[in-house]
Symmetry: D3
Subunit: 260 residues, 6 copies
């Protein structure tokens, strides 16, 4: 079975940089996949996309060596199973706030006896290889999100659940439940939690991941985060357009007749 190179890098202690897809298109996914990220996440929760186009995006990513991850909309076994069968090599599960929820997430991702995933890797066996059943429990990354005060409070319990490969911090939601605005780089209680999560992950041998930006990557890496999101399709579109408009209009102010 094809190796999950992201998990291999985590085991080797390396930092990995990933990207986030919110635009429902296999073309934007393909553009992103050719840039050289370690992994790319198709975001089915806040991204504007659902199952059918997500599959096409996974196919687009699979043209490259970048590892395809998916964030599912919710901790629900039906959609987790569908995305794994479609070839996701990692599943990010939102709002996992208790060890019971973490166990449910693992159960949905692993075949018996490690879990209760149903067998039928229709596309996954083309992407992963003929021995998919033998290797899936080993290669697929199970990645619950830690994004609430409650989850932080029960972090040791959550991280003790067998089968969790990484946890992924959602800074906006974590900030909100800590009484802060939904920022990516809040200080105070958020900063404490950010460090505490990395430390707990180190204790439990679980990879620490976080939603971030290129500017924050070094800071997170220094804190021990190995799975860092640094770019997104929708973010690049908005930022690029704004920058281009500013460049053009600073030079040739809009609304001023120039052609006489």
């Amino acid at each position: 079975m094809r190796e999950n190179s992201a998990k291999a890098k985590w085991r080797a202690g390396e930092v990995t940089h990933g990207a986030w897809l919110s635009v429902p298109s296999s073309f934007s996914a393909e553009i992103m996949a050719h840039q050289g990220f370690d992994w790319i996440t198709v975001d089915m929760q806040h991204g504007l996309l659902d199952y059918q186009v997500a599959v096409q995006m996974l196919q687009a990513i699979s043209q490259t060596a970048t590892v395809p991850f998916v964030r599912v909309p919710w901790n629900e076994p039906g959609i987790i199973g569908k995305m794994l069968d479609a070839g996701a090599y990692g599943v990010i599960i939102p709002m996992v706030n208790s060890p019971e929820e973490a166990q449910a997430a693992v159960a949905a991702c692993r075949y018996f006896p490690d879990g209760a995933r149903s067998f039928g890797p229709a596309r996954a066996s083309y992407y992963g290889g003929a021995d998919y059943f033998g290797g899936a429990n080993r290669e697929i990354a199970v990645i619950p999100m830690v994004e609430t005060k409650q989850a932080v409070a029960r972090l040791d319990e959550i991280l003790s659940v067998p089968g969790i490969d990484a946890v992924y911090v959602g800074p906006a939601d974590l900030s909100i439940t800590l009484g802060l605005p939904p920022g990516m780089d809040n200080g105070g209680a958020f900063e404490e939690a950010r460090k505490a999560i990395a430390a707990a992950c180190k204790r439990h041998g679980v990879t620490a991941g976080i939603h971030a930006s290129a500017a924050l990557a070094a800071k997170h890496a220094a804190a021990g985060y190995q799975m860092i999101t640094i770019s997104s399709d929708s973010g690049s579109i908005a930022a690029g357009a704004a920058r281009d408009l500013k460049t053009a209009r600073d030079q040739a102010p809009q609304g001023q007749p120039v052609y006489q």
Copy 2:
């Protein structure tokens, strides 16, 4: 009927800045539409998109004041009519190399007696307003592309065809037919042509347009171009991802264990 604000600005001698859409998604179109461009072109020629998603993209753009243009795949009356009925307020037509081809383009865009467009503005009458038939020949922008050596040679004839609002220079194709690489800012024969087109447009009272970038906008405006493409969805995605990866990796080199 809703006024075509891009044409109004051209008449007022103003420069307009537009954007280009190649990603088949109404979400990326919506993001772009909220940035404040004067107009946005849904590119059905080289963009990775066809009719059905193009309509959804026009709907997305129509939430804003940005004027929706379409580049059709070819100078063919079927698709030109379909895009106008779908609410395009301007049509960019590739590879118009002769006055006959320019006349065909106009005929496909204008109702009798100015042309031979078939009546049925199914969505256009919602976007444009109830008096669409009365105003369409006035508000819709007909924009042939000038992108070959042959077209430049016959430019005065082409610009003499009644009903042409603007011409749009395709720098890559024009460069190729001039024996140059497909660049956006070639010198030599391309530079001569670029200036000659602007001058001819001035003579004929036709707006000069050009495919460009934010960095080239001021240069083109100075030369008399009033319709300048400065940004694109796919370009921003690729550039943003490359920049983010460089930022992150310059700070924390990939492949080096940082978490021990």
Copy 3:
């Protein structure tokens, strides 16, 4: 091969009533197909729909005895062939203004030696039956539109082209080219043309068809039209919504507090 019951009724001198589909959905198509029209036209010209959803609409219609027609965007053999292969049992071709254009339309619809259609009825042979090749030239209805002053002027020539089963009057375009507003029931030159077309069809043994409404059906039937469009999905939606709003607001005026 499955008989084209619409053509059979025309041969029997019966009037047929059809419907028009502009909404790109196989569900609205299915609703319409269950109402009992003689035929239904999937409108690829002014309707907001393209090939892929048109096929799904044909599948939806094919659950019933209603005969599936398609109006193609233009007199172009590629799309005509695609729609026939997808199971259209009649093709309405816009803007046929000369006998040459009529011949091209027939050629695109008929197998050799009656025409030059390419063989590959991928879905059509499921809908039409295993002997599709043997019966297609007989059952498929070829229906050029007569919708310009020029076409009316050359009507006898057009109707003399072998292989034309019916012509379909587009009242809006015909009105426009006669200098009238794009109405369905103009008098004057339009009324003359309307009668002349029916008369010419009778002389040539070709079925006369016309885009109309339920209210106009009897008038057209009396004039000899046997193929009459009387209803449309988009028209019913708009009219139904307006009527419902009026009903509700006449009874309980909007904006007036009623609940205290």
Copy 4:
């Protein structure tokens, strides 16, 4: 943040009239959105549509001042969050039969501390505005359905749950659980429940809503209902087609040769 004008009207004691969308198409949605309803509901439960086209329908509606609501398929936080992030300004949740289920519905719709919605308003922040986070808990309408005997029995408990803006009566399901046929205007136990719900809503300061028709609008308004569905896309198509066929055939009976 953009104001929810439907909620404003409810607060002002006004009756609002809305429409229902079951056809999976952004074109039919756009037609409906231009008719002037106070709000329009994209029905993901019984409508023939799922997430991806629902987003396009929300984009279509967002071209107008009509407020976009969504009925989700079930009281499940994943899909509720997705629709809110896609720009729904109100969420109708089926089969809420207990205060616990009502609390779950509210939790899925409101950010902390009012609920547990996850942050990521990818499209919603374009529709609602840059200060979406600050205003969402105030502007978004949370609308559980009351459509079973059990829900009516526990209505006071359900209406006591903080954060409920309105309840929406499903007459068919309510009738069924009361032992009646699935009608819109049953008498007996249904009529009693219909009045009891309005009265309970008045006691609790919650808006009463109901699935209805234009003909029933005045009756419901008189009973205190302020959120009344009076029209639907699929209903108008079926009714319009049936009416048109009757009109045409009454005048020119089908099957009778008229053209000799």
Copy 5:
């Protein structure tokens, strides 16, 4: 209401042969539907398809007498209701491991008083007929899957739940939870379970079904299975392509110059 001919055959003691659809296309569905299977299952669990295309596939199948079944991704009332409203005449529900889960499955499929299905058969009433409400609880097949050791252990309890028409054995998952590889025809504990399930079904008057192949059909029929899957779209594509390549290359070995 249209009779469910598959259920009628089961009642008559007949074996039925069905097919499985994993390819998201209404064209492949239509091809399969014309082959003469008793029923066809649109597989939303392991198949590469979601709601919107599943509806189109149901429409395609509905052109024929083959009965349309759906396997939902999970035992979740939202998606079960949506598929029934879309016209599924049978629902296969994965991973039903307890009588409580079986009851939930039945509740989602049956109207009150047999269950709690919400009323709104938008497409189903076109397929099933105008009296859909009166007949749905009788004609719709509720088919939980028995595919784990736990389910087999509680089989009598599960089969005692009122409203279950058939159970469907998933050999791969059942094998896995029995400690065997995910095969279709394992011996040992699987073989015992296979026989025990058929025997239990006979005791309870419930139809036994199983995922199989054409080669295994006779064996399963002999054991009492009446609902046997014997073919699949994706399986036929892969097998056909492999066979064709072998045929061609055995005759003309690839890589050997033959044309000189």
Copy 6:
């Protein structure tokens, strides 16, 4: 630029075996792409598919070493350019019956000075590589179809047009224009033409291709054909289903009660 391995094999005198895709799905395309064909053709002419899904199919194929070809619906530069920009490495053009039509096909496929293709390889440059412009005229295969009596009559002229890499025989259409039924293996005039085409190709140094089956592959290879279609998605589905039904029913006849 990525080498076109199919063209390399043709140059080396090898026979290549390809497959045909008519089902509009990137999943069936992916299944086919993993079987090991030399090339696969996405059929936009008779296949039930259009541009948008064709792009997804090209992405699916591009995960493998199989070379992606496209058959366009017609010899029209708009669609030819779109498919090349989408990454097609070969274009099969229907109904090329004269050298003029062959020249038009070449012009649409080649950049100046070899043709007049417009520059904008949006996806093609990801698939083909950064030096796409430099290599495209060399690597892209231009493949007109020879499928009429007229084309055979003018074959030497057609094959003399510079830029043609291969011609592809359409046996059904060729048979029809020769007065034969639309078969794949007719004798008589078809057999003569089949041999004459191969001989002419040999004279002109052009690869001979033909639509066929696995059973006919050796016969065609022996005649000098190097590009042979031997399998199709839709064909395998229909044949597999028919075979499976026969297998199952021969063993356990349908309609006979077996479970008592």
